[in-house]
């Protein structure tokens, strides 16, 4: 709800309105930087963006702290031996997995919302009137969102790592200098950034908020579970090449059995999925009526 309706506007200056002359307005085709600036204005001027990012920060760092603390407090507890062994064997997956596993859902929502709300509110018409060659608008949106995400996501994943590793430190020692750890932590930020673009592409394709969010969550959470049930090595291959499965490999330091891709290969596959969806989204943006 809005906090009361704003006061009525004052009567327009005069019945015969004076339109300010604009002799000094620039008349050259503005560069791509102007579109970046405009998309930045759009993204920062809507409260839902800010709130979703705050939720992302709180959920990711908060749940990392909560789960590592619970584990630490219950170390050597009853029925905890198997878990303790697992955490000690692969501390990075444990530390990064909990908070980021939940936090990534807010990134999915944010990416989809960024474009679907333009359709639901009608702003897309204003955007396309201003930029009638539509692709630069989509490109600028992707660049601004990716730049925003990579800064916030990297800060948050490193913060999560430091919080989690500090809490679990009495039992398991892990540092950035251990093999693959820096790559995994920094990679988690990259994964979240590309995931945001992946969700944005789905949003641009589907254009309806609820359907887009459901689709992204389905692809990220549900599809790997289903494909995990596929038998044999071809099942493992299908599973391994799914966007989320491939992309999240970069956040791990220990290869799982039956893993078909290396961490960077997996990330490459995820980027390829995202690029493909963005290309289709751009093609349809040009083709469809707004």
């Amino acid at each position: 709800m809005t906090a009361g309706s704003p006061p009525a506007p004052p009567a327009p200056a005069a019945p015969a309105a004076e339109v300010p002359a604009a002799p000094g307005l620039p008349s050259a085709r503005p560069g791509f930087g102007r579109l970046i600036q405009a998309e930045w204005t759009k993204i920062r001027s809507v409260r839902s963006t800010v709130w979703t990012l705050i939720i992302f920060v709180v959920v990711t760092v908060g749940f990392t702290a909560l789960f590592t603390w619970l584990t630490e407090a219950n170390w050597n507890g009853p029925h905890a031996a198997a878990r303790d062994a697992r955490v000690a064997g692969d501390p990075i997956s444990f530390i990064l997995g909990t908070g980021i596993g939940l936090g990534q859902l807010t990134i999915c929502v944010l990416g989809a919302l960024l474009i679907t709300t333009e359709y639901s509110s009608g702003v897309i018409r204003a955007s396309l009137l201003a930029v009638p060659r539509r692709l630069p608008m989509l490109a600028a949106k992707c660049i601004v969102f990716a730049a925003l995400l990579i800064v916030i996501a990297e800060i948050i994943v490193f913060a999560s790592f430091f919080v989690g590793s500090a809490i679990i430190h009495p039992h398991v020692q892990v540092s950035l200098s251990d093999p693959g750890v820096t790559r995994a932590v920094a990679g988690a930020g990259l994964y979240l950034t590309v995931l945001g673009l992946f969700a944005l592409a789905i949003g641009a394709l589907i254009r309806h908020t609820a359907a887009a969010i459901a689709s992204v969550i389905g692809i990220v959470l549900v599809l790997p579970i289903l494909s995990g049930l596929l038998p044999g090595s071809w099942g493992a291959h299908i599973n391994g090449y799914l966007p989320e499965q491939a992309g999240s490999l970069i956040t791990r330091t220990h290869a799982e059995s039956g893993q078909v891709l290396s961490p960077w290969q997996g990330f490459g596959v995820f980027c390829a999925w995202t690029a493909l969806l963005l290309i289709v989204a751009g093609y349809l943006l040009n083709r469809r009526d707004a």
Partner: protein, 343 residues
Amino acid sequence: MIEVRDLTKRYGRVLAVDQLSFTVEPGKVTGFLGPNGAGKSTTMRLMLGLDHPDSGTVTFDGARYRDLPQPLRTVGALLEAKAVHSGRSARNHLLFMAQTQGLPTRRVDEMLDLVGLRQVARKRAGGFSLGMGQRLGIAVAMLGDPQVLLLDEPVNGLDPEGVLWIRNLMKQLASEGRTIFVSSHLMNEMAVTADHLVVIGRGRLIANCSTEEFISRSTEKSVLVRSPEADRLAQLITAEGGTVARGARADSGPGGNGARPAPAGPADAKAEATTAPGASPDGAGLLTVTGMEAPRIGELAASASIVLHELTPQLGSLEEAFMELTADSSEFAAGQVSERSKR
């Protein structure tokens, strides 16, 4: 100048715009008139490149909208459907639009002052009233100081003061030599605003002429004559080339409610159609003359020493002209259509 050539748009089975061609000249307010569902908004979306036409072209001084280097500097548009995020402030909406064109921030504040939204500029646009929303739309349209303005139903939902404001604004902008193209389904609003009219029905062009010409051309002028010697006068008029109908013409043609000083609705016209032919006591002395001006009828009567009790030129209103023209093409024309099919 706007040139629309052979514009056609089909949505599934519905032909929304059908081979539409017209030009819009600078220095005038051109009204874009049509009943609901005639294709006005679709045409405007096609003109602005939001929807893709199946065929045809639209150019602004020779350039397609998508080829304009700074579109908002050339064409300003106010579309009927809202285009503002409810959570974004009016100022930020204008700001991002300005940034896409490389316009300075001061231009945003000038526009907020122009439309009187300065004090609510930082409030969420979702809380705006319909009138405030229209003002913001005007601010967006005027942002780039464009030479061409496309306004889709700009006075919808405005209070009388707002209507007057928009009307004066359009006239002033036209007098500055700009091209103003404004759609409406309100005939009387167009009568006082538009210099030129483009009228469409079911996506097809019905008329494209000056507002005056539109009224006079599509409203057959008639003269109501009342005389105790109506039969003799009728003969004289017919001999001079006029056409005479007995009684008031209540059931056909423009000025169909001619017997009444004030235009009545279709329901009244229908009622009269059943009673008019000779039924009313004074109907016998009443003639409706077309094809002859009132002074000539008066002269004829005087030369034959015929007493006249009434001699009234019937002027059609824009509303009547519009009803007449679009009766066949309106989506909701059941009443008029059945009335016509009786004849």
